[in-house]
């Protein structure tokens, strides 16, 4: 037994608190953490499946007509469909659970498999939202850092005013304004951008001409979305920076002789970024289901427009699949957000 004298009291204290965590154990802890989060996610998914099923049962109208829709269907298939829909609701739910993805279901408006339709629209949504999110993240964070660091300055006051304004703006209205200014062209504004679809007709997406055409078509809707998203990021980042400004470790950094820029970059920003990282991940999860209005305004053939068409035409199978897709993306990104913050913030115990 080690002799207890004043100089080793503190080492004993450390032993009681638990050894300094070495890297391997933190990696192991993170995998356990991920496992736990995935389990919680599965629980949420179960809830989503229940809601997904029952909510569409509530839609008024004849379910048979909806499920049959526009496609040609043989008499015996029709009879089978009728039997399925007349079965008691618990039996229907049970059948649903056997195949929640409903891989066989047909879109009523397009006469194709639901997931084929979704698969065709998905790349356009990713293109649009990817562009918008990247722009919004870079610009929003930069504004937030600068406004928070130089709090009270003219830049801060102007940028906070502008971001609050953008925060209050409906993104589809902004889209319409952009069309007015840059597609139709009023006053001094040039009308050079297209106002609908994602690519010029007949152009192959893989070619150089195709890429330029895609860029041309994407820029206005992406700008409309990015402007509204960046407001959120900028306000959160600014608030985080302001929180960090009062912290003692920044005084220590100044006293060490660091230049202002180094203090901001190496100490303030990393700490202030933690809440923003969470927000970015969460937002990505939500945006997939949220670009409906902008895609409608710009007739952009992504998942949003698809959702809109499905609602207009009461395309039940398609709606169900889209709903599931949106929910799953939120769940997945929620999990990613938790994991990301656990990786980056050493104070979180895993």
């Amino acid at each position: 037994m080690a002799q207890i004298n004043p100089s080793n009291i503190e080492s004993l204290d450390l032993a009681r608190k638990g050894e300094v965590q070495r890297r391997p154990s933190r990696v192991a802890g993170l995998s356990r953490f991920t496992g736990r989060r995935l389990l919680t996610g599965l629980g949420t998914l179960a809830f989503v499946l229940v809601v997904n099923f029952f909510i569409f049962q509530l839609l008024p109208g004849d379910p048979l007509a909806r499920y049959k829709g526009a496609r040609e269907i043989s008499a015996e298939d029709l009879q089978k469909l009728r039997e399925e829909l007349d079965a008691p609701i618990w039996e229907q739910f049970f059948n649903y659970l056997k195949d929640p993805l409903q891989l066989d279901s047909f879109s009523t408006i397009q006469g194709k498999h639901v997931w084929d339709v979704i698969w065709a629209a998905l790349p356009w949504t990713l293109c649009l939202l990817g562009t918008a999110t990247i722009m919004a993240t870079i610009i929003g964070i930069w504004i937030g850092i600068r406004a928070g660091w130089k709090r009270g300055s003219r830049f801060d006051r102007v940028s906070t005013g502008v971001t609050l304004f953008l925060y209050a703006t409906p993104e589809f209205w902004l889209g319409l304004i952009l069309i007015l200014l840059f597609s139709t062209g009023v006053w001094i504004f040039p009308g050079i951008f297209p106002s609908s679809s994602a690519i010029d007709a007949g152009v192959s997406p893989g070619s150089l001409e195709g890429i330029i055409s895609i860029a041309y078509h994407t820029i206005l809707p992406a700008a409309a979305l990015a402007a509204v998203y960046l407001a959120d990021y900028s306000l959160i980042m600014r608030a985080s920076m302001v929180d960090e400004l009062g912290q003692d470790y920044l005084t220590t950094a100044r006293a060490k002789g660091l230049m202002d820029r180094a203090i901001r970059r190496n100490h303030a920003v990393p700490n202030a970024s933690l809440p923003t990282i969470t927000l970015i991940f969460l937002n990505i999860g939500f945006v997939i289901g949220g670009a409906i209005t902008v895609e409608t305004v710009f007739s952009y053939p992504g998942l949003g427009l698809l959702t809109w068409d499905a609602i207009q035409n009461q395309d039940l199978p398609l709606l169900q699949a889209l709903f599931l897709l949106f929910s799953v993306s939120v769940i997945v990104f929620n999990i990613l957000a938790d994991i990301a913050i656990a990786i980056v913030d050493p104070r979180i115990r895993v």
């Binding site: 629980g43 989503v48 909510i55 839609l59 319409l176 007015l180 289901g289 409906i292």
Partner: protein, 318 residues
């Protein structure tokens, strides 16, 4: 005031508590009034409330009926005539009149739906924070799950399910989808309040669950809930505008001064989009409704942010 200081013994504890609440409310209002951005928000709000109340007086309801305005050309340009300072919409109706009447659904839906969300959120939040074990845990799970459901598709589907004939359907739909944010906040506050030592003492003295939640937790939680609800109004107004834009809102034609549905800013934007106003350059139909939405949302956002600062001075000025 003087009688109280002369005879302190005869005032009941309740009376003392109420007079303290009066002075602290007065202090709170003075404090709030010192923030220019918050007062600016209040000013905008007051303006729009007045507009909503006086709309039928300034812009008679007949201006909103397309059948009574057949003489006007569609999307007519702004002119010097007061009613047509902002021209006409696609059905020949006065844009100014529509803007004024449009204030009503925005404010009504915004405020009522948020109150519903506040009530549900507070109840669920306090329950999930106070009760340990199965009930509290399930409340917490419920909150997390509702947060995951995609908001816009959910709202759209619910609206489609319940029909769009009445503004109150929209109020209901938005109310029952906007509570999770409040619930989460209230839960965190409840946990923090209940960790305080005086709560332990109250429990030992035999406070029932109900008494503890209403006498201790609720008063501590309410200020933050009010600030949060104000911010919720902003989000609800934006959501409602989106719903109206997608055609999922009451679009009946008002026939009397007391009707509140029918004409909304989101609906105007839907009509603007559908009639190709952007492609035709009809800025007078396109820009004003959006600006009105921005103004109202901004007002509630500024007021909400100022409330947060007043309640938590650490946040500082911005």
């Amino acid at each position: 005031m003087t009688t109280e200081t002369a005879e302190p013994v005869t005032r009941s504890p309740r009376a003392i508590a109420w007079s303290r609440r009066r002075t602290s409310t007065a202090r709170f209002l003075r404090n709030f009034a010192s923030y220019r951005t918050g007062m600016f928000g209040v000013g905008i709000l007051v303006f729009f409330v007045l507009v909503a109340l006086t709309a039928p007086l300034i812009f008679p309801v007949r201006l909103l009926n397309p059948n009574l305005n057949l003489d006007n050309e569609s999307l007519c340009h702004p002119s010097w005539d007061f009613y047509y300072w902002l021209g006409c919409d696609d059905l020949g109706r006065s844009v100014m009149a529509e803007l004024a009447w449009g204030a009503r659904p925005s404010l009504i839906v915004g405020i009522t739906a948020s109150i519903i969300a506040m009530v549900i959120g507070t109840l669920v939040g306090i329950a999930s924070g106070h009760f340990r074990g199965l009930f509290g845990g399930s409340m917490e799970r419920l909150t997390d799950w509702f947060l995951v459901l995609p908001f816009v598709p959910l709202v759209i589907v619910l609206q489609a399910v319940l029909g769009q004939t009445s503004i109150w359907v929209t109020v209901l739909v938005l109310g029952i989808t906007s509570w999770p944010g409040t619930a989460r906040l209230v839960r965190a506050q409840t946990l923090s309040v209940e960790a305080r030592p005086y709560i332990e003492r109250a429990k030992v003295l035999g406070n029932s669950d109900w008494a503890q939640m209403t006498h201790h937790v609720l008063p501590n939680v309410m200020p933050l809930v009010i600030a949060n609800t104000t911010l919720t109004v902003a989000i609800v107004v934006l959501s409602m505008t989106t719903l109206a834009f997608l055609g999922l809102f009451d679009d009946s034609i008002p026939t009397s001064a007391f009707e509140v549905g029918g004409i909304s800013w989101g609906g105007m934007l839907d009509a603007a989009d559908g009639s190709g106003a952007a492609l035709l350059g009809a800025w007078w139909f396109l820009i004003p409704p959006g600006l009105c939405v921005i103004a109202v949302v901004l007002a509630f956002t500024l007021i909400g942010r100022t409330l947060e600062i007043v309640l938590n001075p650490r946040l500082g000025s911005d």
